[in-house]
Amino acid sequence: MLKMQSVRVDIEGVQVLRDLSLALEPGKATVLIGRNGAGKTTTLRTVMGLLPLQGGKIRLGDTDLAAIPSHHRAAHGIGYAPEDRRLIPSFSVEENILLPALALKLPADERRQRLEDVYTLLPELQALKSRPGGGVSGGQGKMVALGRALMVARSLLLLDEPFQGLAPALALDYTRTLGRLREQKQDLTLLITESSPHLLDAVADRTLRIERGSITSAEGG
């Protein structure tokens, strides 16, 4: 599974990840906990290839991720839902979800199957599917972003602060959805960032703590 070894990443000359090392276990959910600015988002963005490595290694199974361009990572089955949703506002919800299928040139039946899986897991999206991506609420947008990431995620799903800005009831919904996802797709590996501990206790197999760009402790698993 995903393995980061002594990863160093700078943003505008400031070192954000300092020799960060972590290894995810296949089929397990790992929660990355840390304060704002600790490097949680940077860790996920680095896995997606949005930030260049200054040092260290990232591997997914036998693949050297650092050697493949950012846009090829989706083809390796890594799905990513950024913290601020970032839907394409002029596309409908369904078009947003289907966009990666279009980019990955999935055959029609595979595309249909994955879309159906997303609607089974997130039935509320079915009712929203014709709404423009720019016209859904923050909470709904989080669900759409999750659905879109699930279209891609065959091996690894990265969720960046999924509860950020969610009302408590919606956060609970989201947690339940993640629970169902774990049951349905037992071979999918999850890496979820969160700033407040315990929100994800029900989902987490393992909790890593990140401080000033390095993993400081690990619990569970």
Binding site: M48, H71, I88, F91, L99
Partner: protein, 299 residues
């Protein structure tokens, strides 16, 4: 009164069509690549030179003069194929994410290079090649004579507006274009090759500019300095419509086209400044253009 207004309208719209091709290319490149390409007008004049040269060659070689019609389209396609990927990969890509000052300096440098290149290849004399316009002839309605070629220009502009919309709404690559405009990074994480989208958008922008230039040759010929003149006008139109807005560019082109023709008919001294007077008024009232806004990015 009406009798004198209709030809004025046709003149204005034909004029608008030519400006629209360039301005929509400029606005497209701006919204996808987020650069203001100062050299954009040079592709218009290169398209014009290519169309005039190919047209003159067709006629002088004794081929059917009707071949000059596909030659207009072919010239634009050749210019786009030759310059689009080359310029984007070698020069423009280094300016992504840099300050506007750097982008303007680099593309201004490109503009100077392209201007000299045109003088080297095509010389400094003007070229005239109006076979397509002569072949299409005129239509007389109610005692007023219209150039059929002008009607063709108006029709083609409509085809381009609809075509671009269909491309962006309903084709795979068009959707990638819209996605990259909205969010480059997320597009990348979803598997879209943004570099390819940039090349495609830039080449499409070059094609539209060159098409404008090619289509303009039968009506006005081509002479040195055309590129600079055109890019300033295209900037004005794109600014009036709101940068990044396809329909905005179309409506702005109509306003500017009509303003110019009105000036030519009623106040010839104001011909050259009419577009900028319109821009001044629009930007004073709406600083982001008629259809532009500060926050939303769409295409």
């Amino acid at each position: 009164m009406l009798q004198s207004l209709v030809p004025l309208l046709v003149d204005g719209l034909a004029n608008a069509a030519l400006i629209f091709f360039v301005a929509v290319g400029l606005t497209l490149v701006f919204s996808v690549l987020r650069i203001l390409n100062v050299a954009h007008g040079s592709f218009y004049s290169i398209g014009a030179y290519a169309a005039a040269s190919i047209g003159l060659w067709i006629v002088s070689s004794g081929f059917s003069p009707y071949l000059t019609f596909p030659a207009l389209l072919l010239s634009a396609a050749l210019v786009a194929a030759l310059f689009g990927p080359l310029v984007e990969r070698t020069l423009v890509r280094w300016t992504y994410g840099k300050s506007e000052a750097v982008q303007i300096l680099v593309t201004f440098g490109l503009f100077l290079i392209l201007e000299d290149l045109q003088r080297m290849v095509f010389g400094v004399q003007s070229l005239y090649e109006d076979t397509p316009m002569a072949l299409l002839g005129i239509t007389e309605i109610g005692g007023i004579v219209y150039l059929n070629y002008q009607l063709l220009l108006i029709g083609l502009a409509a085809v381009v507006i609809i075509g671009l919309r269909l491309l962006i709404r309903h084709t795979r690559h068009g959707k990638f274009l819209a996605a990259v405009v909205a969010d480059r990074e997320v597009s990348q994480t979803l598997g879209i090759d943004t570099n390819r989208v940039f090349i495609m958008a830039f080449a499409l922008g070059v094609f539209l500019a060159a098409l404008g230039g090619a289509l303009a040759t039968p009506t006005s010929g081509v002479a040195p300095g055309l590129g600079a003149e055109t890019v300033v006008l295209a900037f004005a139109v794109a600014a009036i419509g709101g940068l990044g807005q396809i329909e905005g560019a179309a409506i702005a082109a109509v306003i500017v086209g009509l303003a110019r023709v009105l000036a030519i008919y009623y106040a010839p001294a104001l011909d050259a400044v009419a577009p900028y007077l319109v821009m001044l008024v629009v930007l004073l009232i709406r600083p982001y253009g008629l259809f532009g806004s500060v926050t939303t990015r769409r295409i």
